[in-house]
Assembly symmetry: C2
Homo-oligomer: 424 residues x 2
């Protein structure tokens, strides 16, 4: 079976997709029985030299979207617009689409999937989350017999690299940003990664499929890693934890909990061992128990693995003349569990005056807010006349933890609440 | 869409499959749009009380295999026969089959798949390897754009549990067997696990799909864990390794390498952290890089997750009227790399007379067999007048390592080669 492919975008991912389609065409055809034919590639800058035949290059999206011979449109441009509009147009004209676009899929995925259903074409987006790690298909197909109980993930490679460097080299957040930029992991403006937006988009997609509900990115609690200080890594180690940017979703009692924030993860937890720019997603289902999927979550080649895998699957559908094999359903307006009601353990680090009564005052606040203390460490602070106090707590409502945090910061004997981290 | 299911076997896995089909029927139907109807269950002992309606129970396979209303046959009996014959009969009469049978799929999978292709029915076997971990579909679909370079796996939970206990509690192999039996992980006759047969079947299936070639279990090198002694765990720890039963396959230069044996795995390697009865499979593809899939590799519920997932996929195919979506091809007689030609690092532990010249003699043998020494430790032995020598080597041909092993054992100054382990 032949499949005529139009490619929107020739960046890191697009170049690897084009390379595989052009250089390995015969080899893949022999192995899979599918002949993937790259018809045209949309680029932004026509003048830039490319490693692919110039007759394939175009600066006009219409050359792909309006070409009736193109059966499937691959979108690897990134960003919300015009990518979303292109995808919609492609679907409306009866083309299948494959996208690596997490922003579009997080915000508009259910709409595009619904539209595709009405047009009897397929929307593939394995590449939108976790590079080549098979996540979408795992939820859609492999674990479909399960009620999914929770998803816990380290899903942003850039922050994981940064936190790893802060832990091992004792460097500051700013130094870690600079290193991640130098290593090609972070953008000039690192906000999408370090403020948690990227992880929120990915979690939104995974949770939507896992729970069959529209988990809009705006309804995901988001806190980035800017406030994490080198000292916290030392305490984490002492207490038996790693600090990771955690993406977590669950459905306790019918409401969906979804949150992205830095967290202390116990050393024996599988997510604690995810190093560098790798991603890992731990899925808990009522039958399967815990399953962990781990791999490179970004980069041209791993993402191209997912894109080309999706293309070959489109080809199988075309050969069989059968689309929308697994219909996905999304509860349009699911009940979300507000962050205030989430119950979690926590870690507080504060600097207090080195005088009697501090512990009593802090302890009283915790007790009044319903927060029970699990452990306490007191050390001399670098600042004369002050002491550093570290508390970990038993599970409490996030509202109670935040109130305690505010009230402790307001105590006369307390100079500053230096750190607050949730604990897994 | 409705799907009429016949179930062959009501053991640990069968009972969980039946439970899910009966107790969660409406719930699954609402979620997936598929109504799974359990029509009949074949059991060995009709007298034993079961938790399912007696009218569903039968002692005759014909009641399922010859019932035209049964659309899909689920085989969870285990063992080669009569399971294989039942599967063949079901396929011949136009029924789809779902099996959790690793022995049948390892030995006869390509034949059954070919037969099913000619009958236009589907054969599903996700449950045959790694319980609910999505492995078959990962190779068949998700990583299909890749040339698979290697598979490295800890794929037998029983031996992994035993090796873990030997490492942490310092107990002997026999004690570990007894513990694994008490914990319900090992059979009364533990040979299938401890001698590596189970891992060989699973690796045979994975390698066959990964490389599109019949990797028959008889052509997989196999060595079990009986010879591993408590002392080796101490040296492993000292040298920075864990000892695991490794299942490894790769295709260097067109020939397929496939082997199962205990191995020392560096502590930083993802497979080194796989604990207890868990399984993990690390797949390396030319695009995706390394991907690791981890979870419970056995047990009723995780395996039922895969079986029922497969059933729902069959139902989707029936709804679309389209089967054999992804055709698998198997090179019937692939070239295998003989174990003698495999290059690997190794660990030798030997007891030698505590007298001059031993090191020179051992070193000479290694040199003559082309084996280069990477590290050496010498310690007093528990046995009077002897010393314990531990060597690790650089990569060498397995033939050279075995020759060296034999010649060293024959040296006058050497009492015994106590241990030989390959090193990752």
């Amino acid at each position: 079976v032949e499949l005529n492919v139009g490619l929107l975008g020739l960046g890191t991912v697009g170049a690897e997709v084009a390379e595989r389609l052009l250089a390995k065409r015969e080899r893949m055809a022999a192995r899979t029985g599918v002949d993937l034919i790259l018809r045209r590639v949309l680029v932004r800058d026509l003048e830039r030299p490319r490693g692919i035949p110039t007759e394939l290059i175009s600066g006009q999206a219409e050359d792909i979207l309006d070409d009736p011979s193109v059966q499937v449109v691959v979108e690897v441009m990134g960003g919300e617009e015009p990518a979303r509009s292109y995808l919609e147009r492609a679907i409306r004209s009866g083309k299948h689409v494959v996208t690596a676009n997490k922003v579009v899929m997080a915000k508009h995925g259910p709409d595009l999937l619904e539209l595709a259903g009405s047009k009897d074409v397929d929307v593939y987006f394995e590449a939108a989350v976790g590079g080549g790690i098979p996540l979408i298909s795992t939820f859609k197909v492999d674990l479909i017999a399960n009620e999914i109980e929770s998803i816990a993930a380290v899903i942003n490679g850039t922050t994981n690299y940064m936190l790893g460097r802060m832990a091992s080299a004792g460097i500051s957040f700013d130094e870690a940003v600079a290193e991640a930029q130098a290593a090609g992991y972070a953008e000039a403006d690192p906000s999408a990664d370090v403020d948690g937006f990227d992880a929120v988009y990915k979690l939104s997609i995974l949770a939507s499929i896992a729970f069959g509900a529209r988990v809009h990115p705006d309804s995901v609690f988001r806190e980035g890693i800017r406030a994490v200080e080198p000292l916290d890594f030392r305490y984490a180690r002492e207490l038996g934890y790693e600090i990771k940017l955690l993406a977590y979703s669950a459905r306790p009692k019918g409401r969906i909990e979804a949150r992205v924030h830095p967290a202390m993860i116990p050393l024996h937890h599988p997510l604690a061992t995810v190093e560098g720019a790798f991603n890992a997603v731990q899925i808990t289902g009522d039958l399967v128990g815990d399953v962990l999927l781990w791999g490179q979550g970004a980069g041209g080649r791993p993402t191209a693995s997912a894109v080309v895998g999706d293309l070959l699957d489109v080809a199988h559908s075309i050969r069989k003349g059968s689309f929308n094999r697994v219909a996905m359903r999304f509860d349009a307006d699911p009940a979300m569990l507000p962050m205030a009601e989430v119950r979690t353990k926590a870690y507080f680090r504060l600097r207090a005056l080195d005088q009697p009564g501090v512990l009593a005052a802090v302890g009283t606040v915790f007790a009044e807010e319903g927060v029970s203390i699990a452990s306490m460490i007191q050390k001399d602070s670098i600042e004369e006349g002050t002491a550093e106090l570290v508390f970990t707590t038993h599970p409490a409502s996030d509202a109670g933890l935040q109130k305690a945090r505010g009230r402790i910061a307001d105590l006369d004997q307390v100079k500053r609440v230096c750190a607050f981290l949730r604990v897994v």
